[in-house]
Every structure is written in C-alpha cells, then in structure tokens.
C-alpha cells in the first residue's frame, strides 16, 4: 500500500516537473511584443520576436511579414481597418492579437492667392459641393491631396470606398 502511494506520488511529481519545464520553456521563448498605435502609424516593440505576421483576416489569409531584425524602431502607416497580428521568433508563434486603425475624414480650406480644398484625413474622400441644398459638383481627394475650388458653397467629405 505504501509502495503504491509512493508510485502515485512519483507520477504526480513527474507530471508537475513536466509542466514546470514546459511552462518555463514557453515563458523563456514566448515572443513578447507590444504594439503602439498613433493615428494610422503602427510600431511593434519586442525583445525576442523576429517576425510579426499581420493580416486583415483572422485566419491570416494573405498575411504580410514584418522583419523586426531589420526594421527595429520603425513605425509604418496602415490604411484604416481591423488588423490581426501575431509575433514569431522561429521557435514559438504567439497568440493572435487585434488592433484597429480608425479612419479619419478630414477636410480643410486653405486661402492664400487661391482657395484650395485639402484632404487632411487619412482616407480617400468623395467631396460633394452643394449650393443652396443642390449638389453641383464632386471631387475625389487622396490623403494630403488638394484641389483649387471656388470659394463658395458647402463642401461635404465622405469616406470613399
């Protein structure tokens, strides 16, 4: 009976040891990565990740790979939308995370010698010109793009598809 208890204890200890070793391995080699987002700029900070796998789809179909060894300290811009990402270091591929780049529709009017309409947001916009409630024109502007306009009427910007 005593012998049986010792056997049980050995098996439990062996399993505990196995768990400790496995979790220690995962703890040491898990690719720990932080993401910081500022506007539509994204930056990954990591100690032990080599690659960030990023995709607009949760199943990582059509993924992009960011090589952190070569692109440390680099922020890059992404178009607005939802992104899934996971870090990898060649040993362990981390859990899937998600971040959202919010779209920003922005429109400005610059007045110097001419009057220009400027897309100050981060998405392509479809601008309609209205006079007395009637649409009289349409302009498509990419981010940072500008176009000379007549300094009259109401210009309304909507995110273009």
């Amino acid at each position: 009976m005593k012998n049986k208890k010792i056997k049980h204890l050995h098996i439990i200890l062996a399993q505990a040891l196995f768990l400790i070793i496995t979790f220690s391995f995962v703890f040491v080699f898990y690719p720990r990565t932080d993401v910081s987002i500022s506007g539509n700029f994204v930056k990954f900070d990591s100690v032990n990740s080599d690659i960030i796998i990023i995709s607009e789809n949760s199943d990582f179909s059509n993924p992009s790979y960011i090589d952190l060894k070569k692109l440390n300290n680099i922020s890059f811009s992404l178009k607005p939308g939802s992104y899934y990402w996971k870090p990898s270091n060649g040993i362990i591929e981390g859990f899937t995370n998600k971040f959202i780049i919010k779209s920003e529709v922005g429109l400005g009017i610059e007045r110097d010698e001419n009057t220009s309409l400027v897309n100050i947001g981060n998405v392509k916009v479809n601008v309609t010109k209205n006079k007395e409630g009637v649409m009289v024109g349409r302009i498509i502007l990419e981010p940072e793009e500008s176009e000379k306009i007549e300094d009259k009427g109401e210009y309304t910007a909507r995110q273009e598809n």
């Binding site: 049986k4 098996i11 399993q15 196995f18 768990l19 496995t22 995962v26 500022s38 700029f41 930056k43 080599d50 690659i51 607009e56 789809n57 199943d59 059509n62 790979y65 960011i66 090589d67 070569k70 692109l71 440390n72 300290n73 680099i74 922020s75 890059f76 811009s77 990898s88 060649g90 040993i91 362990i92 591929e93 981390g94 859990f95 779209s103 920003e104 529709v105 922005g106 429109l107 400005g108 009017i109 610059e110 007045r111 009057t115 309409l117 100050i120 947001g121 998405v123 916009v125 306009i149 007549e150 009259k152 009427g153 109401e154 210009y155 309304t156 910007a157 909507r158 995110q159 598809n161």
Partner: protein
C-alpha cells in the same frame, strides 16, 4: 435628446455667429465609417469624435441623413470648440427596425458635422464651408448566398510582379463551399492583356477572405482596367476597377536609427532600392527637419552612392542633435538621383534615448522560418497529460484487478 433641428433653428444659429472674416476652415471626424451587421432589434450607442484640427473657436452642427436617418438619434446637435479642444467625443443611438430584415443589402446613414460658417461685420457669410461625414453602414444578410467583393492591386510596376487581392465578404446566411475569381486586364483601348486566376477558398457566412492572383507585369506604364468575376458555388458577380501600372525607379524602404542618444550625433541608415533596370549614379539622401514654427531646423545630406540596377543600398546620414529638444518634429526625406527625387513626409519623435521615425513604409516579405503555434503547444501539452493520466489510471485498474 432632439434628433434633428429644424431649418429655422439652423438659420438662427448661423445668424447668431458673427465673427471675423475667415482665413481657413478645417474639420475632421472619426471614424469615417462604422459597419454593423444587422441583428433583429439591435439597439446600441455608437461613439464618434469631431476633430478641431486648427484648434480654434468653432461651432459645429450635427445632423443625420440617409435611408436609416429615422433609426438614429443624436444626443447633441450643436457643439462648440475652444482653441484648447483638439477633439470632442459624442455618441448617437442606433435602433434598427425589424422590417429591415426583409430588405437585404446595404443600408446607410450619414452623421454630418458642418462647421457653422462665420459671418462678416455686415452679417453676410463669406466663403466656402466644410462638412465631414461619419457613415453608418448596416449590412442586412440575404437569405441564400450573396457576396460583396473588392479588388486591391499591389506593386503594379513595369517588369515587376503585381498582386491582385480580391477581398470577398459573404453577406448571406449560408456558407460558400468554393469561391474564386478571374481577373481580365484591359488596356484603355479595350484590348485584353492578360487573364489571371486567383486561388480558391471556402467562406463561412458573415466572414471575409482574400483571394490572391499574381501577374508578371510586361506592359508599359499607364492606366489599365481590371474586370473581375467572382465565382461562388455556381453563381457569379462581376465588377470593374481601374488601376495604374507605375514606373517607380527608386523607393525608400526604411530608416534605421540605432543607439540614439539625444545631444549626440545620430547615424541614420536609409535603405533605398533601385527598381530600375539601369544603374543609378550619385544617389544621395536629403533629410529636412522642421521645428514647431515650421522653419527648417536641420538640413542634412548623406554621401553620394552609386546603386546598381535592381539592388538595395544603405545611404548613411549623420544628424547632430545638440540643441534638439525632446518632442515630435515633422520632416521630409528626399532621395535625389539623376535630377529627380523620391520624397517621403516624416514625423520624427525624439526622446532622450530613442528616435522613432514615422511615415516610412515597411518591408513586407515572405519568411520561411515559422515558429510552433502557441495554441498547438498548449493542445499538445493537454493531450500528453491526458494520455499519461489515462495510462496511469488503466495501469492501476489492471493492477487492482490482478490483486483481486
């Protein structure tokens, strides 16, 4: 909780606001679009922010339009910004009617933020005004199988390999077993240049997937038309999109800044790629950094380098950061070659021991080395423990049986 204000109220507000002659108008709103999948009886608050980009005194009028305007209630109609207000957050309530379930497809509403125009001393409104829209898109699923699809064309450069990404969203209530796309490329003279077939995938209801096709670009630069047909379980949907085959010669791939310390000389490693089929002579980088008053604070140049055809090379520039304060600076990186220039607008975030460069593209490359998925590791761990314990249990059951 007024939903919309009347025309009379709008006019009253406009006439009340009597300020100086305008110099510039600007207004922002985020998000530009909120997409909702239809659920019967859905009722919730949705946040949005109005941005006072110029940080000035401003009044903004909020209204709702579109076919879902009856389903949306604004909590605020007229908002006031002071110079210190960079942005303000608001909410609106959306309550979807049950009758919408009988109308599959896209339903929209616009939350319109209009900068209330300023009037001159005579009370007349001067100049154009701006308004920005936060769209609400509600997708009502169809009973059977139906899709939405769009095309993105990446890296369409002469003598390069372009990627055609067809994003397909299953808007139906049923899953799709097999979805694929065929893309026909036409010149502006309607001559077919190439037909590309994408891979094929299955697609669950309400989910999206990206189909990919590759095209070795062997046509001159210019505008082309892609006619896309998406086939899904015996049905098809077609659409068109115009795209440009460019001829980019030199691209700025990245900027590396290692071991940065404020007050010392920073080494900037600017990686550029010559995408032309000809060597480029005397290529150099010119980085201009502007201070808070938009005046040139730094103007540095790298040494000139020759870059062989279709290769990457690092241009090294040194920035003496003595006298530079911690903060964010805007800048412009110009890589000059052959009397031309490739430019990138940047934001440089300077800290005591780091320099973050925002705005340079990131390299996207397929990578062979893949780690073991953490979920897989944990599943294996659980399976091993289960097997060990099961074996242990069976072993001792047998031992007990033998003893009996």
């Amino acid at each position: 909780m007024k939903k919309q204000i009347t025309k009379l109220n709008v006019l009253t507000i406009l006439f009340i606001v009597l300020l100086a002659v305008p110099f510039a108008s600007s207004l922002g709103i985020t998000p530009g679009r909120t997409v909702i999948d239809y659920e019967s009886g859905l009722e919730k608050d949705i946040s949005f922010s109005v941005l006072n980009n110029e940080k000035k005194n401003m009044k903004v009028l909020l209204t709702v339009s579109g076919d879902l305007n009856e389903s949306i209630t604004l909590y605020d109609n007229l908002i006031e910004f002071k110079p210190g207000d960079e942005s303000k957050s608001f909410k609106y309530k959306i309550k979807l009617p049950d009758s919408l379930s009988n109308k599959p497809g896209l339903h929209t509403a616009d939350i319109v933020a209009l900068e209330v125009p300023e009037a001159n001393a005579e009370g007349a409104f001067v100049g154009a005004t701006v308004a920005v829209v936060s769209q609400v898109h509600v997708n009502v699923p169809c009973a059977g199988k139906c899709i939405d699809a769009e095309l993105d064309v990446l890296d369409a450069q002469s003598n390069g390999s372009a990627s055609f990404i067809v994003t397909v969203i299953n808007r139906g209530k049923l899953g799709i077993g097999d979805v694929r796309a065929v893309i026909d490329i036409y010149t502006p003279l309607n001559e077919k240049v190439k037909t590309i077939e994408t891979d094929y995938r299955s697609l669950e209801a309400g989910k999206s997937t990206a189909l990919t096709g590759k095209w070795k670009v062997e046509v001159p630069s210019g505008n082309y038309l892609a006619k896309v047909t998406v086939f899904y379980d015996g049905e098809s949907q077609s659409f068109e999109k115009q795209f440009v085959v460019g001829d980019e010669i030199l691209s700025i791939e990245s900027i590396l800044v290692n071991n940065f310390r404020l007050g010392e000389i920073a080494k900037l490693q600017i990686l550029v790629e010559n995408k032309w089929n000809k060597d480029l002579k005397s290529v150099f980088a010119n980085l201009i950094v502007y201070n808070e008053d938009n005046q040139v604070m730094t103007d540095i140049k790298s040494a000139s380098e020759d870059i062989p055809s279709l290769t990457k090379k690092e241009l090294i520039a040194y920035w003496d950061t003595v006298g530079v304060n911690v903060g964010e600076y805007s800048g412009k990186l110009m890589v000059r070659y052959d009397g031309k220039s490739t430019d990138k607008n940047l934001v440089l975030k300077v800290n005591e021991d780091s320099l973050d460069v925002f705005g340079v593209g990131y390299a996207v490359r397929p990578q062979g080395t893949k780690g073991v998925n953490i979920t897989f590791i944990l599943i294996v761990l659980v399976v091993i423990l289960l097997v060990v314990n099961l074996a242990w249990f069976i072993f001792f059951r047998r031992m007990m049986g033998k003893k009996k």
